[in-house]
């Protein structure tokens, strides 16, 4: 069997004295070129040749041996070989010693299947790491140091099975980031994305689990669901907050059991996928208000990454503009036009910026002045409607009713203005041009009655 398509053939040295353990390792490393050494002397000679990518070292080479495998670590490390210790001696002392001598990875013998797979994934991840600079210029465009740090941290977990939750407003690149994480995971399967808010409950169930012909009206043929399509790959669940509690329970069961029944089927399907999920809503409030099951949230929540809105990473505006126009029509912006672009709040975030580029490309001059930019920005805010109503507000109004949504909006505006005015109520009354009665009602709802630290003048 050849290595998976996204893994190149490696040269691997296995230092192991037991013939059966050698056989097991050979079975776990199909398609790679493997050399075996049963003792430290042979291993040293082979390492000196210096052509191995990886080296697995058993510490104790023979019954009377006193962990001579340890002495091989510095040599392997000096040859820039990814050095892995595999041993029955996994005491803290040995772990510490092995890492101090320069090994890259350490595992206790007993679960070769998963351990060897995980080691290879970490090796490929480490090998790809120097190209991360390219990542921020070509795959996920950002020059923002905080975003760089968040993504770098997430990339460390890319090869693992840990679920990742991406939070951020609409249009901040959540899907792109999920794809980047999949591309760095070395998973042989596909990246399959589904926007949960785009389907009614019944359709979402069929999309997720698949269906057999005749399972429901309109199911004319057998169809694979995204859970099965993502086998050995990544399932990206966007807008998880819009999923019904019933569907969350069904999906949770499928995630835990790695098995599910397509609609209308009596035989289960099995699928091993990694979950990356995203929402633009406040995740804590989703859980608090009971819209997201706590057990489902626990399943999705391994590592959390927050993507900032474009207005909070303005340094990305021009790199993104340049990226979107790469290989196509280029523009020269006047100083005032640049200033306008920098000052704009980009409520639709990167998606809005991309629309601006589309509009620029479709017509107008190559030299772009402030007036042209202002006109296009006005058009965009009318088109998107996001300048005033966000997706979250709209969905909340549909789910909870407009009256409740208006109250929530009003409370949020008052709280923000109150904070900006350092709790001075008279200033809030003047700023927002509201009646005292309305303001006090809102403060009471928010748990900040006048006289409390957040509500006094």
């Amino acid at each position: 069997m050849a290595p998976p398509a996204n893994m190149s053939k490696l040269s691997i040295l296995v230092v192991e004295d037991e013939p059966l353990a050698q056989k097991v390792m050979a079975g776990r490393l199909p398609g790679h070129a493997i050399d075996f050494a049963s003792d430290a002397k042979t291993a040293r000679q082979m390492l000196q040749k210096g052509n191995h990518n990886l080296c697995f070292i058993d510490l104790k080479l023979g019954r009377k041996d006193d962990c001579s495998g340890l002495n091989l670590i510095p040599l392997a490390a000096s040859k820039k070989v990814y050095t892995v210790v595999m041993t029955g001696h996994d005491s803290e002392e040995h772990v510490e010693k092995a890492y101090a001598l320069g090994c890259d990875d350490f595992y206790a013998k007993g679960n070769e299947g998963d351990n060897v797979k995980a080691v290879l994934a970490r090796y490929f991840h480490k090998r790809a790491a120097p190209q991360n600079g390219k990542l921020f210029k070509e795959c996920f465009i950002t020059e923002d140091p905080e975003t760089h740090a968040g993504i770098r941290q997430a990339l460390q977990y890319a090869p693992s099975d840990l679920p990742i939750l991406i939070l951020g407003p609409s249009g901040t690149g959540k899907t792109s980031l999920a794809k980047v994480l999949h591309d760095h995971s070395n998973r042989p399967g596909k990246f399959v994305a589904i926007n949960c808010s785009a389907y009614t409950e019944d359709l979402l169930e069929a999309e997720l689990f698949g269906c057999r012909r005749g399972a429901f009206t309109g199911a004319a043929e057998n169809r694979k669901g995204v859970l099965l399509l993502a086998d050995q790959g990544t399932l990206f669940l966007d807008e998880i907050g819009s999923m019904s509690l019933n569907m969350q329970a069904k999906l949770l069961k499928a995630i835990e059991e790695k098995s599910f029944f397509p609609l209308g089927s009596e035989s289960p399907e099995t699928s091993h996928f990694r979950i990356i999920s995203a929402t633009l809503e406040d995740i804590q409030s989703l859980v608090k208000t009971g819209r997201l099951r706590f057990d489902f949230f626990q399943r999705l929540h391994g590592l959390t990454i927050r993507l900032k809105p474009l207005a909070r990473r303005r340094c990305d505006i021009f790199p993104l503009l340049s990226f979107f126009t790469r290989g196509g029509r280029r523009f020269s912006f006047s100083a005032q036009a640049k200033e306008l672009l920098l000052q704009h709040d980009w409520p639709g975030n990167i998606r809005e910026l991309k629309k601006l580029v589309d509009l620029l490309e479709a017509g107008g001059e190559g030299q772009v002045g402030a007036e042209a930019v202002q006109k296009l920005l006005n058009t965009l805010s009318i088109e998107e409607g996001e300048g005033f109503i966000t997706e979250e507000q709209y969905r909340f109004a549909r789910q909870e009713g407009l009256e409740k949504a208006v109250r929530r909006f009003l409370d949020a505006v008052i709280q923000r203005n109150l904070a900006e005015n350092k709790g001075k109520i008279r200033k809030v009354l003047a700023d927002l041009k509201v009646s005292t009665r309305l303001l006090y009602r809102s403060l009471k709802r928010g748990g900040h009655p006048p006289g409390s630290p957040n509500g006094s003048d």
């Binding site: 037991e18 013939p19 059966l20 353990a21 056989k23 097991v24 079975g27 776990r28 058993d58 104790k60 019954r63 041993t87 029955g88 001696h89 206790a108 013998k109 007993g110 679960n111 070769e112 299947g113």
Partner: protein, 64 residues
């Protein structure tokens, strides 16, 4: 005497861990192996089981 026994116990624990994990790994391979590979594997598995027994005997005889 105590030190020798302690060392022997460490060796036994290592052997048990390491040999049993190879046996477990070989069991997984058996399912996917061809008939010839199965025969080869079984020879190695037998040897491994014998050496496991030997390791236990060595420990039992230590210090006795």
């Amino acid at each position: 005497m105590e030190a020798t026994k302690g060392k022997a116990l460490e060796n036994l624990i290592h052997d048990l861990n390491s040999k049993c994990s190879s046996l477990k790994g070989a069991a997984v391979l058996l399912r996917e192996a061809s008939e010839q590979e199965q025969r080869d594997l079984l020879v190695l598995i037998k040897k491994q089981a014998e050496s496991l027994l030997e390791a236990i005997t060595v420990f039992e005889n230590t210090g006795s």
